[in-house]
């Protein structure tokens, strides 16, 4: 075992930091529930950062590291599915890649818009189609940290892919966990900064043990989600992936309301960017039938 980043991985993450630095100055004050950024998306795609999973030498672990790092930005870009699932399908499919579970097609879909590739996965296999304007209803008022839309119609004419659905589901879970790891870390950092600065009763909020312990527990969770995601990316094992996604959804559930709570009223404003991370976590909590879905998948993989 060697749990350090390779030189390549260090270089990739450094390059992402350099690329995203100009975006750090973006005004977050006018952000709505989500902060998509088309220019950042283009920069990342042109820089090849979303294609890292295609390179067998870099592989899924490097792709997961990219997803985790990008999730820490306040801006949201469709990276998780593109970086981790697209390598199964081929690089000619237009982005964004939108994940839809068979039998759950009426649920709001992240990044769905006209021209996006929709990937449908379930018992009848894996297929894709390019969404038309008529198939999409944007959910501009959705309470999520992603641009969301509802799929109005699933066409019968789809491209089917000769890969097992289980492989896609495994990578979906890894992508979810890697993204959640970055979101948890960023939300935690943001909350730590706030409770350190904010003074009440003549002292920093961070000196109250009731808050310290819950934040420390969030650190333990965020750390665990990150490691489980990376390990699952390394093994591509369905059980590892299900455990990682389960721990991600459970940890999101356990921490999101605490993070907002510790901001007091500031935590319910659009002025503070906290929601740009936590309201993405909220969207991930419901993926693939939520914690119960991941837990049953894990139980099946672990104990048959």
């Amino acid at each position: 075992m060697d749990l350090s980043l390779t030189d390549d991985q260090v270089a990739i993450l450094d390059a992402i930091d350099t690329l995203s630095r100009p975006y750090a100055g973006a005004s977050l004050h006018e952000a709505g529930f989500a902060l998509p950024d088309a220019q950042l998306d283009r920069d990342l795609a042109e820089g090849g950062f979303l294609d890292i999973g295609f390179d067998p030498d870099l592989g899924a672990v490097s792709a997961a590291l990219v997803v985790e790092r990008l999730a820490r930005l306040p801006q949201t870009v469709e990276a998780a599915a593109s970086a981790l699932i697209r390598p199964l399908l081929g690089d000619d499919l237009p982005r964004p890649l939108c994940l839809v579970e068979e039998g759950r097609t009426t649920r709001p879909v992240r990044f769905l818009r006209e021209g996006a590739t929709v990937l449908l996965v379930g018992p009848s296999g894996v297929s894709t189609f390019t969404a038309t304007a008529a198939q999409v209803r944007a959910e501009a008022q959705a309470l999520y940290g992603y641009p969301m839309a509802t799929l109005l119609d699933v066409p019968t004419d789809r491209t089917s892919h000769a890969i097992p659905a289980s492989q896609v589901l495994t990578r979906w879970r890894i992508a979810l966990a890697a993204e959640a790891a970055g979101l948890l870390a960023a939300a935690l950092d943001s909350t730590v900064a706030h409770v350190t600065d904010r003074q009440q009763f003549g002292r920093s909020l961070a000196t109250f043990q009731a808050l310290r312990h819950r934040l420390a527990e969030a650190q333990v969770r965020a750390n665990g989600v990150r490691w489980l995601a990376l390990k699952a990316a390394a093994t591509l094992n369905p059980g590892d992936a299900a455990l990682a996604a389960l721990h991600a959804q459970e940890s999101a559930r356990a921490t999101v309301y605490d993070f907002h709570q510790f901001f007091g009223a500031m935590g319910v404003t659009l002025e503070h960017p906290l929601h740009l991370w936590t309201y993405r976590l909220k969207a991930l909590i419901g993926d693939l039938r939520g914690r119960g879905g991941q837990a049953l998948a894990a139980a099946e993989a672990l104990w048959g």
């Binding site: 350090s4 527990e217 750390n223 490691w227 489980l228 459970e250 672990l302």
Partner: protein, 381 residues
Amino acid sequence: MDFDWTEQETAFRDRLRRLLADTLPDDWERFSQHGPASPALTKFAESFCGTLAEQGLLIPHWPEALGGQGLDPWHQTILAEEMWIAGEPRGGQYMNVNWIGPTLIRYGSPDQQARYLPPIAEGKALWCQGFSEPGSGSDLASLRTRAERDGDTYRVNGQKIWTSYAGLADTCFLVCRTSDDRKRGISILLVPMDTPGITVRQIPSLIGEGDIHEVFFDDVTVPVTARLGDEGQAWEIIGYSLTNERLGIPRYALARAALDRAVAVLKAQSEFDGEAVKIEAAHAAALAEAARMASYAIVDRRAKGEAIGAESSSARFATVMAERRVCEFIVEYLPEALADAHPYLKMHHQRGIVAGIAAGAAEIQLNIIATDVLKLPREPR
């Protein structure tokens, strides 16, 4: 990043498993319900550790010059996992090899090393650690057991409590006060337990016979040469010991093994078919694997010779979360395990309760994470 075991590591684990299968008696699982500190297990451990020593598996992580093979922390972890999963057949001796020995290697005088290391390496020693006192638990630096210097000797007076193995131990790693300075006034004495003036009283406990004790020191005379390190150096030495101790008990591995065993029993009884039971089992597995990975991240840094700080508290707390969830799972879905139906699960459950207390309580780990990982400003004192 590489999450695979090397061939050498896999072979090492296989070798340990074979040895355990060949050496442990048929009724081992029932037998191991005698806690690690019980007279029965202590006696068994002497012969078992002798076998390990003969095969070079008792102290393989020690330096070669001292009888070890200089194996890295990954091998040390594999050894700890396999022993702990098997119900710790080394009894209290795991403590000797994990941290008492390494601490003596680092801080002991040549005489102390010559006297104490060979019996540990041969599997013939049993130590106890005298840290906690009735008035000093989490706040260890408030300890009051006093060692008064008197020429070439110290005269020790005071009381220790919760001391594991004290009833059968031959030597005590005693932490005591040599001056009033809160942390720099603490020193370590290596004290033979048959020294006149020491009285040991066992404390009946939930975790089985012989584990925890009170130890009274009544005008106990100890030569100055029994001091480990300098006067006042204890705090530094303890810090070194505790990082080894905390890594030494891979509870996540036993928690996961117990969970797998419980699921196997439930399946055999056709009781692993509802969604609720599966979901709960998966949550427990996720916590155990998260704790395992958090622990491996620490081992990785140790293997690279990097300093380990508060991250080990994060791994510790993750382990407490896992241990609890597995215990809760078994109580809820396999209650007969706490009676006599499944000795292995009973053993796990009985010991699991201490996960959040021994070797530093869970809330103390959270305090450390808050201050040293999250860098939050300290609580007011």
